[in-house]
Subunit: 148 residues, 2 copies
DNA sequence: ATTATTAAAGATAATTTTGTCCTTAATTTT
DNA sequence: AAAATTAAGGACAAAATTATCTTTAATAAT
């Protein structure tokens, strides 16, 4: 569904948010290992998530530094991560990739996809980063990288 | 959601099915123009859809030749197109891309995504190629490439 | 038979995505 | 102040995806 970049972005955000909720900052090293993603590639993604436009994750250099997410940011919908990675179109556009598909001039799948798209969008827009990160639905202690 | 290849594959299949339902064969040229995809790339995709494993579209070389879909094939679910392109995982796997995510060891989004995934899968598995191609939901005479 | 038309197949190229490496800057600890 | 630790940023490389081009094979019409 999403690109690797966006998958990593979501996983990283959730990982950091979990640690931040117990007031822990985490290093790129730890994040990368925790989410099962290449270290330097993870670094690049974290830059995108922390830049001026996105401001989803925060960071501090130097020893005892690392990444964290403010309480304010963690109250925003998880959707902003997808948006920051520029992949909100994945959820919002036509299944057949038609640029001119809409309610007025629908493609063959438009009607059946419309409701699903709405739910999909809701899944990202109606749940905050914090809610997702600390979801009770996910009972396992370590979320990612279990098979390492 | 899907790669360009799969989008083109779905569009091409629908386009051919529509023409086949009025007993018309169509050339690569016509298909490519009709769906708004590069000609030679479309040809490659049609090869994938017509090969021994897939057998979704049929073709005949030479003048008055072209592509068509048999009545039998058009009764199969549109899902087989996605499958032939090797992208059924897009619909069937974890949103976060975790290989070990399942009901027993769910990721943070698993529960909320589960129902959506089921609907998404149903959209492709419960509708035949013919149903999608000749859907009454789509009223516009030309499905694709309207802005050319 | 020859020519024209069409798909099949293979080679190559461009672009995008993914991944790695190295240097620099910031910050803390000693 | 010096050393150590961490993120930031830029350059580069590998792989995958998307796109193009050329030749060959099949088939029909002339």
């Amino acid at each position: 569904m999403f690109s690797k970049s966006t998958e990593y972005a979501l996983r990283a955000t959730i990982y950091i948010a979990r640690q931040s909720s117990i007031h822990k900052k985490v290093s790129i090293q730890e994040i990368a290992e925790g989410i099962g993603a290449p270290k330097h590639f993870t670094a690049k993604i974290l830059q995108q998530l922390s830049n001026k436009n996105a401001q989803i994750v925060s960071s501090i250099s130097g020893p005892s530094g690392g990444f964290y997410i403010t309480e304010e940011a963690s109250k925003k919908p998880i959707y902003i991560v997808v948006e920051a990675m520029g992949e909100n179109t994945v959820i919002e556009s036509c299944v057949l990739g038609l640029p001119n598909c809409n309610d007025a001039t629908p493609c063959s799948m438009h009607k059946s996809y419309k409701g699903i798209k709405k739910e999909l969008l809701g899944m990202f827009k109606n749940r905050t980063i914090n809610e997702v990160a600390n979801s009770k639905d996910c009972l396992t202690p370590v979320y990612f990288n279990r098979n390492k």
